[in-house]
């Protein structure tokens, strides 16, 4: 029986790889953005899995709980994930807005059509 | 030759020379590198327009000596005008060996003092002959060869060949014949030497003396006179 952290590790890693694969194979701009979010999600899962400690609870600390440090999982990855999600969201949003502009410009979503700059 | 007469002469010449203008002798306008406009009159700018000058001997004794030297050193201008020019080369062969009389061939008028008009003289050639004659330095002698130069010879009625050379340049010695053989030539040269030694071969000065007359004759038949009056 695989441990939870292993499962998340594997899922995270495969999501990242899947995303990377998508990034470098998919021609559609939207799909590229989606691939990026896949990578992002994979990383988030990876982070969580690395910060996970067995049999501990979420790091929501409150004055009433004793030994909080021993009962909760490592809080830092959790905080990091939160921030990372926010940032990922921001990037995704910006990417999408770029995609909109690109699509308006050339009426196409194929990444190969945007090669005005080269060499 | 004063400035004035030179200018007086000038207009006629240009008029006449413009009748058959050569492109390169026409007046032209060019621009200097600074953009200044320059009028070029080739005849004026590229040729000396002075009339020839008489150059008389100064000291009799010296001149006698020099005349002897001149007579013993006759340098012929290599200018073959007619069929007679084929009679000249044998002069240098062992049979006739003109070198022993001090006769030599020079390829440039500047260095020669004898001009052999070797046969019939067409108008076209006459122009060149006059130019070459005038370019020879004083003193200079003319030997005319063959009857063509005397009275036109067999070309007496040609529309294009002169009859009498002495109307166009002073001739020192005529050698008659059609054509005269090299022996006759050598005899002519001896005659010429004699003349020089006697101081009678002053053809150059005579040419200057009667310059206008000669020029008039020359210009009468040379219609496209495209050179200055006297070719220095």
């Amino acid at each position: 029986m695989m441990a939870l952290e292993h499962i998340t590790l594997i899922i995270g890693s495969s999501l990242i790889l899947l995303g990377l694969w998508g990034l470098i194979t998919q021609k559609n701009l939207i799909k590229i953005v989606i691939s990026f979010t896949l990578v992002d999600a994979g990383i988030h899962i990876l982070m969580i899995s690395l910060g996970y400690l067995k049999n501990r609870t979420a790091p929501i600390v409150d004055g009433t709980i004793d030994n909080a440090v021993e009962q909760i999982v490592d809080p830092i990855p959790q905080a990091m994930v939160l921030t990372a999600i926010v940032i990922g969201l921001g990037i995704t949003a910006l990417m999408l807005s770029f995609v909109i502009r690109l699509a308006k410009d050339k009426n196409s979503l194929n990444v190969s059509n945007f090669k005005d700059l080269k060499w | 030759m004063s400035e004035e007469t030179k200018h007086n002469n000038q207009p006629e010449n240009t008029e006449e020379s413009n009748k058959f203008p050569k492109e390169h002798l026409q007046k032209r306008t060019v621009y200097s590198p600074d953009g200044e406009k320059i009028e070029i009159d080739p005849l004026q700018d590229y040729y000396l327009q002075d009339r020839p000058e008489r150059r008389d001997p100064r000291y009799r004794v010296v001149e006698k000596f020099l005349n002897w030297a001149r007579s013993e050193s006759l340098w012929i201008l290599g200018f073959g005008t007619g069929c007679g020019s084929i009679e000249l080369p044998p002069l240098t062969t062992p049979r006739f060996d003109a070198f022993r009389f001090g006769i030599a061939m020079r390829p440039t008028p500047r260095q020669s003092n004898v001009f052999i008009i070797s046969g019939y003289m067409s108008i076209k050639t006459l122009k060149r002959a006059i130019r070459s004659y005038e370019q020879m330095p004083d003193p200079k002698y003319v030997v005319a060869l063959g009857s063509c130069t005397i009275n036109g010879g067999m070309y007496f009625d040609s529309y294009n060949t002169i009859n009498r050379l002495d109307k166009y340049m002073p001739v020192d010695v005529y050698i008659a014949g059609c054509m005269p053989r090299p022996e006759a030539l050598i005899a002519g040269f001896n005659k010429l030497k004699q003349r020089i030694k006697e101081g009678r071969a002053e053809g150059a000065n005579e040419y200057v003396q009667r310059f206008d007359e000669y020029k008039a004759n020359q210009k009468q038949i040379i219609k496209d006179w495209n050179m200055p009056d006297y070719n220095w």
Binding site: I76 | V30, L48
Partner: protein, 1043 residues
């Protein structure tokens, strides 16, 4: 002190509050925005000042009261303060520059901009890994957002590429962070660096941390996205990218590099080198200004990476070197990008418009020179230290490759400068708004200030050394004055300098004094023709004085650094002079390339030479430890590019011929002697004894002989008068090189005699022909002719110079030939000597040709009203002719001091003097008697001819015998074109442009290689992603394999 936390606070606060302003209150919003940027700058500046004044130590700021790792910490040390100041100044000035854009886009843009600056600030300061990630992301988002300023398709594409690339890079970084946290148990950089866990975890973790940082720096070839960003976005964004963003990223790399350990450093250095070389190569064929600047930026980043990577080797100097390079790149690139924005055209050629704006042109040239790493700009000092350090640690290959990269960079940069200075094909005008130019001015001023700072740092104790440079700088300021006034000022200044030389060197070091005489007095003489020019003659005097001050500084240099700086200043000055000529873009360019190439080999040679020596004084040349043979050869090659020896000569004819009339004598008669001076110094350094049978001198001897032959032969077949003289210079310098290579007393005496003579007669010739060209407005000899009648004085001087050149007695040229013969026979270099003699005879061909074709023969139509050359051209010629006459008639007066100079190095086999007769063990020669005999003889014979020729009639041009015909035109009668056709038929194959073709081939194949390399930038966003991934994987594999 204001804690750095306020940087974040102010930026964020203002940024958020800006959002509340309605469109109506734009004024308030923008003033608030500028206020915020000023505040940021002020805070950074305040810290910088505090650190500079000395009583401040590094401060760590912890947020939210916790200590790390539980909180974010910011560090404010000296380095951070410097970098923050740079970034914020860039931000503030960039904002000023973008004034119109802010007006157009309002608060949105302001917010983005503020966030960008803040992001970069925090990237520098933060000591928390995750925080670093966050702000890297913020900065990239903001940067990508900035790409939208210019709302064009291209710009949007570039932004998208940038965004996807940085996103993927930061994803890698995030993974690295996770692992780092997992193994190192901390995100606090200070702790991580010391954490044993990371080391234990092996290479993968540090790789995942460092690699993304390297990728952030846009390493070649995984950098297409960055290039597009440079190319397509608003130039101000490019400036920020190149100036601020790179600075911040490089610092982060520097901070985290220790994670990788020794291998990490190596990897960084090698990747840096690849980037430096590859990027410069790819930039070679670039014709789009901003993209080319992008290539250059990336190359500079590569250089910084090299420095960071070589940290273990460089030790304490790392930061200094990196800072020198960064600050130059920062100031110059920002300035250049902003200039690009003003010009607003893509093609390099359009920079010719700057000719209309002298100050901007000046700044442009200064920026480019600074970028190329030439002194006295900071980057030069950085490179100098880098190379010296590399040599000290025995890394010859690194030196070679770095210098190669620098040379390639110089190729495209100086091609661009050429267009900027000279190209006239523009057909538009530019709008220089104050708010756009002021930031550029400030950057320029900053650069100059840094020059001052660096000079003070390096030469605080020898400030006097740079006085001539200051004078040249003064001429830049005084450039608005009329030319004649400036000429007077320049001559006075040079006079003062001459006095200084006289004061310091006469009797102390006569060899130096002699060269000072050539350089400075020669300089004054060649400046005199400048009086003919009216108007302002912008740029001439600063350049000329720059060159002359460089020459003077060469004389008074006491160590290698001073010498090299002087050398490069001279090169820059002469380049600026040469490029002033009408058709000289190409030639000045090749001159600059050869000069730079030579200078770089010299630099390498110097580096090897000083390696293992306690100092860098010039005396190290006599004590070379590290690769002494190579060092000497490299230094010699450096000097020989200046003396245009065979193989390195192809730049000379064009450069000297196409320069202005009064510049040609400067560069030919005077400048070339700098190379001679250098070679003498090198030989003295090697030591007379050691060098006598040194393979180097033997080789140089042959080279000199062949140079003389080919140079003179080349001169014989020229149609262009100045080109002829230029080729003749090559030949003459061949003699000089040969004479000095003989390495005996007489050889050197011959060499010095040649040097003095060449300086004199070549100046006369170039001035004389310059005067002719000034009047006739053409260089082609067959278009001249008959000018003796119009320019008799020039003819006389040129005739004397030619007789000197040909070495015909009684003039002084013969002194050189005579000494040379004796020296050759005593040295037993018979074959070489014969070749040189052959070359000397060939000199007659061109001597006759230039006299005949220019002055004799037939006067052309359009020169009928030409005047004598201006008096200002004639004065120096006659002065120099006076010198030649003095030398000819009293050779003892000049040869004796020469002999005394040389006796210090070669005491044996000296020339002895017996009552005016010079004696060697072989022969004898009495210059005075020969002169007198010849002059009297000439007089008598002239009298004889005068006596025997009576009534000489002066005739005109066409009164020649012409086979009974009359010449048609002077052009057809003047037999000047292809005069030596028969000779060409027999020996012309020797001057077939073989060497030129070799260089051309090198040039073309390098360009083709560059062109080939840049084909990887397909423009497809996805390809770039593949690049990034593949680059990471390949580097990872390679590291794995090498371990």
């Amino acid at each position: 002190m204001v804690t750095p936390i306020y940087i974040i606070a102010i930026a964020l606060g203002i940024a958020f509050s800006l959002g509340f302003f309605s469109k109506g209150s734009k004024g308030i919003a923008s003033s608030l925005f500028y206020l915020a940027l000023t505040a940021l700058t002020a805070i950074a500046g305040q810290w910088l000042i505090a650190f500079l004044t000395g009583d401040q130590s590094t401060v760590e700021v912890f947020t939210s009261g916790f200590k790390p790792p539980f909180s974010i910490s910011l560090q404010m040390g000296f380095e951070e303060a410097v970098l923050l100041s740079m970034i914020n100044i860039a931000g503030l000035l960039g904002a000023v520059y973008l004034f119109d854009q802010f007006k157009k886009y309002g608060a949105h843009l302001m917010i983005t901009y503020l966030l960008l600056i803040m992001g970069l600030d925090v990237i520098v300061m933060t000591r928390d890994l995750f925080n670093l990630f966050v702000f890297l992301e913020i900065a990239s988002i903001a940067m990508a957002g900035m790409a939208l300023i210019t709302n064009e398709g291209k710009s949007v594409q570039a932004g998208f590429k940038y965004l996807t690339a940085t996103a993927i890079i930061s994803a890698f970084f995030l993974i690295g962070i996770i692992f780092a946290y997992n193994f190192g148990d901390s995100l606090y950089i200070n702790e991580l660096l010391m954490s044993e866990g990371i080391l234990k975890a092996g290479m993968v973790v540090s790789f995942l941390i460092i690699m993304p940082l390297i990728l952030e720096l846009k390493p070649f070839p995984a950098n297409g996205w960055g290039l597009d960003m440079y190319q397509a976005t608003h130039p101000a964004v490019g400036a920020l990218l190149s100036g601020a963003s790179v600075t911040a990223s490089a610092y982060v790399l520097y901070k985290l590099a220790p994670l990788g350990g020794e291998i990490g450093y190596q990897v960084i250095a090698i990747l840096g080198l690849i980037t430096f070389l590859g990027s410069n190569l790819a930039g070679l064929k670039q014709s789009h200004t901003r993209r080319m600047l992008g290539y250059s930026s990336i190359a500079q980043t590569g250089l910084v990476m090299i420095v960071i990577g070589l940290q273990p080797m460089l030790g304490e100097m790392t930061l200094w070197i990196a800072f020198s390079i960064l600050i130059t790149n920062f100031l110059a690139k920002s300035g250049l990008f902003w200039l690009a924005g003003i010009i607003n055209k893509d093609e390099l050629k359009s920079w010719g418009i700057l000719r209309k704006h002298p100050i901007l042109l000046f700044l442009f040239v200064m920026f480019v020179i600074a970028l190329s790493g030439l002194p006295p700009f900071p980057a030069f000092f950085g490179k100098w230290e880098l190379i010296m350090a590399l040599a000290n640690s025995g890394n010859a290959w690194w030196i070679g490759l770095i210098l190669l990269g620098s040379l390639i960079e110089a190729v495209y940069l100086f091609r661009w400068v050429g267009y900027g200075i000279k190209d006239k094909s523009f057909d538009f005008s530019i709008n220089c708004s104050t708010y756009k130019t002021i930031p550029i001015y400030i950057m320029g001023a900053g650069l100059i200030a840094f020059v001052g700072y660096y000079l003070n740092h390096y030469f605080g104790d020898v400030v006097w050394y740079f006085i001539p440079l200051a004078f040249a700088a003064l001429m830049f300021i005084l450039d608005f004055l009329p030319a004649k006034l400036k000429n007077i000022i320049a001559i006075i200044g040079m006079g003062g300098y001459a006095y200084y030389m006289y004061d310091h060197f006469l009797g102390v070091d006569n060899l130096r004094f002699f060269f000072a005489l050539i350089f400075i007095v020669g300089g004054i003489l060649t400046l005199i023709p400048g009086f003919t020019k009216s108007g302002k003659r912008l740029g001439f005097y600063p350049a000329a004085l720059l060159m002359f001050s460089g020459l003077g500084m060469l004389i008074s240099a006491t160590d290698l650094l001073q010498f090299f700086i002087a050398w490069e200043i001279m090169t820059i000055g002469s380049y600026l002079l040469i490029i002033r000529g009408k058709n000289s873009i190409k030639h000045a360019f090749s001159y600059m390339l050869f000069s730079l190439g030579g200078a770089f080999t010299m630099l390498a040679g110097f580096a090897f030479a000083q390696s293992g020596n306690p100092g860098i004084g010039l005396e190290v040349l006599s004590n070379m430890n590290y690769l002494p043979g190579l060092a000497a050869a490299l230094i010699a090659i450096g000097f020989m590019t200046k003396t245009a020896s065979l193989g390195l000569h192809i730049w000379l004819p064009g450069a000297h011929a196409e320069a202005e009339s009064d510049v040609s004598p400067m560069v030919s008669a005077i400048l070339l002697k700098a190379g001679v001076f250098g070679i003498i110094l090198l030989f003295i350094g090697i030591g007379a004894e050691a060098a006598t049978n040194h393979p180097l001198t033997y080789t140089l001897g042959w080279l000199g002989a062949l140079t003389a032959l080919i140079g003179n032969l080349g001169a014989a077949f020229q149609e262009d008068a100045k080109r002829l003289l230029a080729w003749s210079s090559i030949g003459q310098l061949g003699y000089i090189l040969f004479a000095f290579s003989i390495m005996t007393h007489l050889g050197w005496l011959a060499g010095l005699t040649y040097t003095a003579n060449h300086a004199a007669f070549k100046a006369i010739l170039f001035l004389g022909i310059g005067g002719v060209v000034f009047r006739t407005k053409t260089h082609n000899m067959y278009e001249m002719g008959g000018l003796i009648k119009k320019m008799p004085l020039t003819f006389i001087t040129v005739l004397f110079a030619i007789i000197t050149l040909a070495g015909i007695p009684p003039l002084s040229g013969f002194a050189g030939k005579w000494l040379f013969y004796n020296a050759v026979i005593m040295k037993e270099w018979y074959l070489q000597g014969t070749i040189v003699f052959f070359a000397g005879i060939i000199a007659f061909l061109y001597s006759f040709r230039i006299l005949y074709a220019v002055f004799l023969g037939h006067l052309k139509d359009k020169h009928r009203k030409i005047k004598e050359a201006p008096i200002w051209y004639l004065i120096p010629q006659f002065l120099l002719m006076g010198f030649i006459m003095l030398f000819s008639m009293q050779p003892e007066l000049i040869l004796r001091p020469f002999g005394d100079m040389i006796s210090a190095y070669f005491p044996t086999d000296a020339l002895t003097w017996d009552n005016g007769t010079a004696l060697t063990s072989l022969g004898y020669w009495n210059g005075f008697r020969v002169g007198v005999i010849i002059f009297i003889l000439f007089g008598i014979l002239f009298g004889w001819l005068f006596l025997t020729s009576r009534k000489v009639k002066k005739i005109k041009s066409f009164n020649i015998v012409y086979a009974g015909e009359a010449p048609e035109r002077p052009e057809t009668t003047h037999m000047a074109h292809n005069l030596f056709a028969g000779y060409n038929k027999a020996l012309g194959f020797l001057v077939a442009p073989g060497i030129t073709n070799i260089w051309k081939w090198i040039d073309e194949s390098t360009h083709d290689l560059g062109d080939f390399i840049r084909r990887i930038y397909t423009g497809n966003a996805q390809t770039y992603l593949v690049h990034i991934v593949a680059y990471t994987v390949i580097v990872f594999m390679l590291i794995n394999f090498s371990i």
